[in-house]
Symmetry: C2
């Protein structure tokens, strides 16, 4: 890998999603926090799974989805995350490699099983996520491959990595290696509750280690503990080279040291499941960024990738995204 050039290396919690339909009454009855990612333990995961409807299983994980999207656009990436050597771990490994992403993190051979996220999708296409971290808690700095980091223009990390105990050390090691190589570090804030859990550390990170920041509106307001969107982006602008804030159907705002630009969302015939919208926005954005595109064009590519993933169940693209950004790509491939 040292001789190759990667666009992005993504580091995240390696998770298999279990997706089922549910109605609001189900969410209320079982005390689920609609629209959020809630951490659950093994017993809760078992109890919730027992009452959920029939599901489908798809590989997920925020940064994993982003990397799958990057590959689908034609980008080159690697992924670092921890699964166990069990059936769901095999599924995760298969899917990300089959998407075209290098994935060589060693699986655990004992202990907790591969992580899963019980995703309830309501008829308004909102997703409510309940994550059992399982083997993800074993990710540590020893899993960071310096060659992958050294080969990638951008090292991309998910804020969710602050939930397992040692992943933040992995994160810091990766960020240091990336910067030492003259490369960029990118972070997604992941979830407003995740920001709440780790605000002080996230503030330090963003100020001192992050070049490219991804967030949605709720997350960036929570990060800076402000109620005003303009104040939040003004704060991010001082700290990061580039900030992209997604605003659902209202599109996104890209902020550089000397510009703030609003970019529209891409049209979607029918929104089915919003799982992965932010992850795929990051795919498109980073695909553009690593090709030297201007921020507004990066945001436009992000919007196209996000629009595809919310038009169906599951958080990874169902069609080759490169055909959406370059309609001739499919024919030439």
């Amino acid at each position: 890998m040292a001789n190759e050039t990667l666009d992005v290396v993504g580091i995240g919690n390696a998770i298999v999603d279990v997706i089922a339909h549910a109605d609001d009454a189900f969410l209320v009855k079982h005390g689920l926090n609609k629209g959020a990612m809630t951490l659950i333990d093994a017993a809760r995961a078992e109890a919730l799974y027992a009452v959920m409807g029939p599901g489908i299983e798809c590989s997920g994980g925020s940064a994993g989805n982003t990397m799958a999207g990057l590959a689908s656009l034609g980008g080159r990436g690697a992924y670092i995350g921890k699964v166990r050597d069990d059936q769901l771990g095999q599924v995760f490994r298969h899917d990300i490699r089959a998407a075209g992403i290098a994935f060589d993190t060693l699986p655990t051979k004992s202990g907790a099983p591969t992580a899963r996220c019980l995703v309830l999708v309501t008829s308004d296409a909102q997703r409510t996520m309940n994550t059992y971290l399982g083997a993800c808690v074993e990710l540590g700095p020893e899993d960071i491959d310096p060659f992958a980091i050294g080969a990638a223009q951008v090292t991309y990390l998910e804020g969710y990595l602050w939930d397992p105990p040692r992943a933040k050390e992995a994160f810091r090691k990766a960020a240091e290696l990336a910067h030492a190589a003259g490369h960029k570090v990118s972070l997604t804030l992941s979830d407003p509750f995740c920001v709440e859990r780790h605000r002080a550390e996230f503030r330090d990170l963003v100020r001192n280690h992050v070049d490219i920041l991804f967030a949605n509106e709720a997350e960036i307001l929570s990060l800076y503990e402000v109620e005003d969107f303009d104040r939040a982006i003004a704060a991010a602008r001082v700290e990061c080279e580039l900030t992209a804030v997604t605003r659902s159907a209202a599109g996104s705002v890209v902020v550089t040291k000397d510009s703030v630009q609003a970019v529209k969302a891409a049209p979607v015939v029918r929104v089915v499941d919003t799982t992965g919208a932010g992850d795929l926005y990051a795919s498109g954005f980073l695909y553009g960024y690593t090709r030297g595109k201007a921020p507004a064009e990066c945001a436009r590519l992000g919007a196209i990738a996000a629009a595809e993933v919310i038009s169906h169940f599951g958080a990874r693209p169902e069609i080759a995204l490169k055909t959406l950004i370059d309609p001739g790509a499919g024919a030439r491939a």
Copy 2:
């Protein structure tokens, strides 16, 4: 269960489907038999999985799909099939129970893992199935619950049960129990290659044990080794009380001792994945049959259930089928 009345108990190979898109070139390159179900061993399953694209996992298995469809229509059913106590076995167990079907077959605790079927779906919506039977080979007569069989109006069996070694004994035991209770025995021929593998035994079965026969055109032609559809249904007519032969977009033909009726297929906006079409046809048909509906009405219900399942990825219904046959059902539920 002895005090309850079930509509149908289904017996089959308990399988988790791994579904991915592929093109015809992929099928040719890897020697796959387009449109058929091919049995593969563990090594072949691993090799084929390694070259397949990213997948999604859904519970499957022919009779399992039929029972899930029956429950989705509002019918009452139980399922008998063998999984291992592994993650995919938990997925299968969860999904069929969550669909509303009783499932109490003991899982194996050692040996081969839960069965999986690698399903390649081409852009013409055709599915090419490659099944590793895994734990299914352990199904035997000891797994047949006499109370379930005694409680069900129809015992429904898939022809695929002739592939694992001891399942046919289970099948025979179930058929005897059903008839001893004055109930009906139904069989689906499953797949033309399956018919080829077991033709002599299937002929004996159909002649001596089966009241309600399901087949598609290729299967029934293969069963009677004739090239003429009318000859095939004339042969079945002598042997079975009721025969339903599906003919894809041309609908189905239902044959009784004194009638042959053609019933149209139900409209589908876009056929996405034909996996489960025959299974869901049987769901609708048996739902009608166990409610005393006339054969043509049973076939109409079968067509509606089949139309839903071919309009999306995966072999089990995504919406409550009862809302399709009785549009007020959803509102009253």
